[in-house]
Symmetry: C2
């Protein structure tokens, strides 16, 4: 499955500089600059303002990292089961395992309120590039420029929030080529209506993940509420009764997390030589840890389940990308393009500036390379992996940051983000002491492995104990898992935080100066890279003209392309699978995990129309974060839901190809058939078809 | 389960310098210097020569890494199922999965011949220290000393083989304090008689591994043949009908692989800071790789099964040891002991020499630290993980080494080891192309991660392809998986090897000069460390007197101690489990993997006497390689078989404690009960009790 986008803002992002040589359907387009001409030319279809506005306002962003859409006037939201899994995990307990067993509300009263979930719906886009750049003094670079930019950004966000009451985020596009103000309507009362069993949603598990043919009922349905009533939704997607057929043009509206298509070679080599050799082994150690710990009992397995799937999914993503970084077929064209572009600007007036920009990027990357591991361990908190540490540091920093002027705070403490921040801080999600200890002990071990046991900071963190002893002492000693305690310290500010003498908060304090120092270096280098990319972007614009899209940044984008199968290993892979294929694959694996079926799917096979299309592939350009994106036809009707890309699409982080790479979607017809014949959810199916409750 | 010992000879080994402060039952004693006085004093038991000779000659070493014993005059050998798993894997195929399903031969004719298995039975021990040291010129150090020592060692081995016809190995003890000549009788016609289902042998799987209480039928039974007939065995162990009871003294006779109890702090810090941070992530990446690949189909799972268990087992071992290396409770006493010993020798005549010896060890370790990763990747072949590469390099090196004088060859090509070497080279074990490609692609990726993609050697190895492409080309292009091809090249020597232009052999050639250079540096540092340890050993002997045992080196050892439970987390852990507990644990986990039972165990529950003891814990000092060791009582009778240590014993590599650390054994009574009531193996049970076929 595509990753939910969980990338912190501090991760690398890239600048997109689309070139004419790129393939026709590459692109995750801004709603403010859609590819009207290309679509008109190729498909004879007009993207009207009304069509775009409707789809934009029907598209939903999940703060847990993922996409969705409104599908009824009474607030129904559909997303992927694997986006919902985070929420299902949070409302499950020893007795009710909704993630494994599924759920259906038979009335509004039965709809289950979810924990700390925030849905954002984009309402408007405003270009604030001029104002942001005006806020940065001419000639300012690195840290000073970054600080000035944070300040003006925070001002804009705060003003907008005060004026409109909408969540207001200034987003960086074209890695600093443009700054836009995105305003969102927020929904925080969201309730679970239906989820299938994970075994139906994620049939085939890790082996079939990112593969096609595929048979996943990867969907869940929520309802947004306002003032205790189902939200009244003007812009919702009409459910298509007939779905698609091979060759039909489809559109995908969602929130791709991060792409790095326009990284320079210096930046790609950083991924290849530094970032991936660190990230991939960490993912695998955590996968092993959660698997082994989960195998000890069913309850352990339940507690570890959602995290385990996240790491297994990430492992497949990163393995695929790493293979791409070591592949001459991917990397040689990248190097050739960069060389060609440098040659192209050679005798132009801005040629020297462009070459210097490449050099500055390389220098900034070198600076990031020097601190990378420490930065990830301390500021990225890989040395302290646990929800408890997240709470502890949020409390510590809230105490220190909130008294500062809005523009001088760390970004996440800006006034405009306060409500969202508090939603997370006061989340009532379950946090399990036993799992926290195991994770923290492993994270402390990782710290010692990377910095060396004798490193003074490691010695201070360990405080004369082994990682396991220290982790147990910290997790058992801290009070941060108590929501009331968190409220008290948050309200009491720095003095209350200090007075609490909480061991985990004190640990956060111990490393905070160093973590902030690393973040400052990191962000200064990011600023340098942004400024340099803006220079390159300007030259490219002058040479190639307009018609480009910025790399993905978890902002709403539009992708498009037809339903189309592909060839692999000499075989034709058809565009659609069916329920018949689903049962055949189950039989082929003799109903063994992870190809086993929930009992009711076995019992009700005879009721189903086995010819109903189940999953399909199409060519729109997507990436992690697009999970749950609605797929619509020319009429703007809901025809399916994105849940994955195939293996060939994994390099999409930094390279696009449409020969074999495909998006994988769940067909709208399969959802209806399953709701009616397997889940006895006729009322829900009727609401989807009618677009309102009956 | 305890690891089978698979450590190459080039790995670190240590020198044991037992101190009077060590706990009573610490020790893996040489048969040539057993702890007679200590046992007499503590248990009032006389270790007679006859008793020792009988047990020594009934003890069996498995070349696959493990221990066993003769248990009938007609050649029956019992070992652990997890030692046998390597052999079971090699004789299984798509139709017969003996590893999973078990096996029983109902007649001699049905006994299944195993592949490339060699059993060694120790016949005599001779001290050759004086001759080995005389072969090393006075004042020679490092590489020159190592070469001289290799030469004289090879001479001694060759002479002995010629004179006695027995496999003759000069073994290094006390890390260079002594050299002994061990002569073994070899058995290479070995057949499978009985194996249980892996699910019974390894019930509880990874979660219960290294835990107690425990319920594992971890045994398999082979028969050694000579001249096509069951071997006639004089020294076999009589099967005890009554077994043991709590408090009974037990002896363990087996082949512990490696301990490093007398490592200096410099050596332990090397483990902690360099070796483990490299080894542990590699184990976990391979575990993940085999799990994910195995999950794709039942046949994949079968092919990956034995390797997967090996890596899962190693992961638990290394995690436990790494925790020990980061634990002040383990490491502070180590540091204090070293400091105290240095103070103790302070004003003695040899004080300066001892201090210098510690410094030389630290310098040698520093030299090893500088090349460690390259050494492991290239000479240790972690960059080329695959059976195919093993064959390719053996052929290349055989061509180069065999024309040299015996004493100048790499150790493994010595004349005295030729038969064993050829047994491995011409093994008919199955090697699966698909799995080999996956493993090699991952290994090539590991190489690039560690050395960097731009490293010239990496560029040469990759040859312009991605790791996956290169791995596929090499594995599909090589002919080394064909036994006839291997024979032809081995017989034809270097010229035939070169003429074959086999791509994988040419890859081995490409890295061979560098791999040999690294090995030379490594072994010179090992020699330096050995010489320095010998100096320390001499001083310690002078101060503390005799009565010590050398660190384990996969040579036959005797351990001892009583059957005894322990306390953990405030609970008493009884010394024995029973069949009743086995079924209770199965029920507790609702018969779910890995706590599920084979069907016949479910069906036959009523037949079993549920009060029969199943597994038990006792205090003998053991480690990986001891797997399958017979446990005997004062009468020298077989009362059980070692198959594991508990979690607390994992630090046994470098530290011993007997408060909680325990060996875990399978009770002789459980084996008989299972053979009779579950496996319908009455004839086999009768042979065990009678000590001969009826």
């Amino acid at each position: 499955m595509q990753m939910r986008s969980r990338f912190p803002a501090t991760l690398l992002a890239g600048l997109i500089l689309a070139s004419p040589s790129l393939r026709a359907e590459e692109g995750m387009w801004l709603y403010s600059a859609p590819p009207r001409e290309a679509i008109k030319a190729r498909y004879g279809f007009d993207l009207t303002e009304a069509w775009l506005e409707h789809l934009m306002k029907a598209s939903v962003r999940f703060n847990s990292g993922g996409s969705g859409s409104f599908v009824s006037a009474d607030g129904l939201v559909i997303t992927n089961h694997h986006v919902a899994s985070d929420d299902l995990q949070k409302i499950s307990d020893e007795k009710n395992n909704y993630l494994r067993d599924g759920f259906l509300a038979r009335s509004l009263a039965e709809e289950k309120k979810l924990v700390d979930l925030e849905l954002n719906v984009l309402q408007s886009i405003e270009d604030v590039t001029a104002r942001v750049n005006a806020g940065v003094p001419a000639g300012a670079t690195g840290e000073a420029a970054a600080a000035a930019r944070r300040k003006v950004t925070a001002e804009i966000e705060k003003e907008s929030l005060a004026r409109t009451g909408l969540r207001s985020d200034v987003v960086t596009l074209y890695q600093g080529g443009a700054y836009h103000l995105y305003r969102f309507k927020r929904y925080t009362d969201v309730r679970l209506v239906w989820a299938p069993e994970q075994q139906a949603a994620f049939f085939g598990g890790d082996p079939d993940n990112f593969e096609f043919p595929r048979y996943n009922l990867d969907a869940s349905i929520y309802r947004a509420y306002e003032n205790g009533q189902p939200a009244k939704i003007q812009h919702y997607l009409k459910w298509s009764p007939q779905g698609t057929k091979e060759g039909d043009l489809t559109f995908v509206s969602g929130h791709p997390g991060t792409t790095n298509r326009q990284f320079t070679m210096a930046e790609l080599e950083f991924l290849r030589d530094v970032q991936y050799p660190y990230v991939v082994p960490r993912i695998k150690r955590l996968e092993v840890l959660l698997l082994a710990w989960g195998a000890r009992s069913e309850e352990n397995a339940r507690r570890a389940r959602d995290d385990l799937y996240t790491f297994q999914n990430s492992r497949k993503v990163y393995d695929g990308r790493q293979a791409g970084l070591y592949s001459p077929a991917i990397m040689n064209p990248k190097a050739a393009q960069e060389k060609a572009f440098k040659a192209q600007v050679g005798d132009r007036a801005d040629g020297a500036a462009v070459r210097a920009a490449y050099d500055r990027i390389a220098e900034a990357v070198a600076a990031q390379r020097r601190i990378f591991t420490r930065y990830r361990l301390l500021e990225g908190a890989h040395a302290f992996t646990s929800d408890s540490f997240g709470f502890a540091r949020s409390l510590l920093r809230a105490g220190d940051e909130r008294p500062k002027p809005n523009g001088e705070r760390l970004k996440e403490f800006g006034d405009a983000r306060r409500e969202s921040f508090e939603l997370g801080l006061f989340s009532a999600k379950p946090v399990y002491t036993d799992l926290e200890i195991v994770l923290l002990a492993d994270a402390l071990t990782l710290l010692a492995e990377h910095l060396g046991f004798e490193d003074p900071l490691v010695q201070q963190v360990f405080a004369g104990q082994s990682p396991a002893e220290r982790a147990a002492a910290l997790i058992q000693g801290t009070q941060v898992r108590d929501v009331a305690f968190r409220r008290k310290l948050y309200d009491g500010g720095a003095a209350a935080v200090a007075a609490a003498r909480d061991p985990l908060i004190e640990l956060a304090r111990l490393v905070d100066a160093e973590a902030r120092r690393l973040r400052q270096i990191w962000e200064a280098a990011e600023e340098t890279r942004q400024q340099a990319h803006a220079v390159i972007e300007k030259a490219r614009f002058a040479i190639e003209g307009p018609g480009r899209w910025p790399d993905a940044t978890f902002t709403l984008r539009l992708s498009y392309g037809p339903v189309r199968g592909y060839r692999e290993g000499g075989r034709e892979i058809p565009a659609y699978t069916t329920f018949a294929g689903f049962y055949a694959r189950n039989a082929e694996h003799r109903n063994r995990e992870p190809f086993d079926l929930p009992a009711r799917w076995m019992e009700r096979k005879a009721r189903l129309d086995l010819t109903v299309p189940f999953n399909f592939v199409h060519t729109p350009d997507i990436i992690g974060g697009n999970s749950g994106s609605p797929v619509v036809n020319r009429a703007g009707e809901f025809v399916g839901i994105i849940f994955d890309g195939n293996l060939q699409s994994l390099v999409g982080d930094f390279a696009y190809e449409d020969v074999q790479a495909r998006a994988i979607s769940l067909d709208c017809r399969a959802i209806l058939e399953a709701l009616r014949k397997v889940y006895d959810a006729d009322a829900l199916a009727a609401e989807l078809l009618a677009g309102r409750r009956s």
